[in-house]
Symmetry: C2
Subunit: 182 residues, 2 copies
């Protein structure tokens, strides 16, 4: 299974492509999509869409895993992250691959077993699992790789939701709320 993990943002979008073979993870590619502040919003979104579309074409992932933040600093940031998420999810849809979403708590839990783990701890787990000499920088890139790695581990959530039958979106949200409440 090949996964592209995405940490979305209009200014900086981190990506990480990871291949899972058996229990082993292999890093295929990772990096940062940056857009300049002086570009029009439309140009920034078009750039992100083109870059992600290019990455999917180049690496042929089976699935795109993207971070979903419910608790953002403010509404303006949330809307801006939403815009980036919109075009990234669209690029997956148009390439015919699934887009799955994970919340920070799920990602932390999948990697460290603790939903309240420190960022540094999550990043160190990513480094070890992917056998990287150093934690990739900036954080957006490390986070994107964490989301990709999370997808394999956290697919348990999806399976649970599928087993629960219809309305998987609602069930995933319920499972996540339960996890949040733990």
């Amino acid at each position: 299974m090949r996964i592209i993990g995405i940490d979305p943002g209009t200014a900086r979008t981190g990506f990480g492509v990871v291949e899972k073979k058996g229990g082993e993870f292999i890093v295929v590619d990772y990096g940062l999509i940056e857009t300049k502040k002086d570009l029009e919003p439309a140009e920034r979104l078009e750039h992100i869409f083109a870059e992600v579309t290019g990455l999917i074409k180049r690496h042929g992932p089976d699935v795109l895993a993207i971070e979903r933040l419910f608790f953002n600093r403010n509404v303006t940031t949330a809307m801006s992250v939403g815009e980036a998420r919109g075009v990234i999810i669209l690029s997956a849809a148009r390439a015919g691959i699934r887009a799955v979403e994970y919340m920070p708590l799920q990602i932390k839990k999948a990697l460290t077993g603790d939903g309240r783990a420190e960022k540094k701890q999550v990043q160190e787990m990513v480094r070890m699992m992917l056998k990287l000499p150093e934690i990739p920088k900036p954080d957006d890139v490390a986070d994107a790789l964490a989301i990709a790695v999370c997808h394999a581990g956290a697919s348990r959530f999806e399976q649970l939701a599928r087993d629960a039958g219809k309305g998987s979106g609602k069930n995933i949200r319920k499972i996540c709320r339960d996890a949040e409440a733990e």
Copy 2:
């Protein structure tokens, strides 16, 4: 000048296409893009993108005018509206037309002269200016037409920003803050 106005949302996106000839407005088309709740987020976004792309192709507007809300009820709503905005702005960019943004205060002010006007008052102005027998329903559609009509009147904001030189985005925001403070 032909304008497509958009009131964005993942569940319901209102649109209104308006032609301005001299001081007269002619309604070209208006309606609602709806996506079902049981669709995956990716499918909803793909549907919105395809519909807006189709409208631009069919009606050939010079510009797409879209509502920008800074003060949403909550962060989850803001992110969801942001996702719809992202794919709508992208559809304008890919069709090679400009996407411009207006805040509710600007729209109200452009149509009624009062940034704090009641929704009903704005809708009645839209009906009168477009010579419609009734206010189009639901609100998303009336709002989309209001945004399209606003663009012609509110282009004064853009001109001011352009005159102020570089960083028009910042200047527009400053002008809007000044307007908010009025």
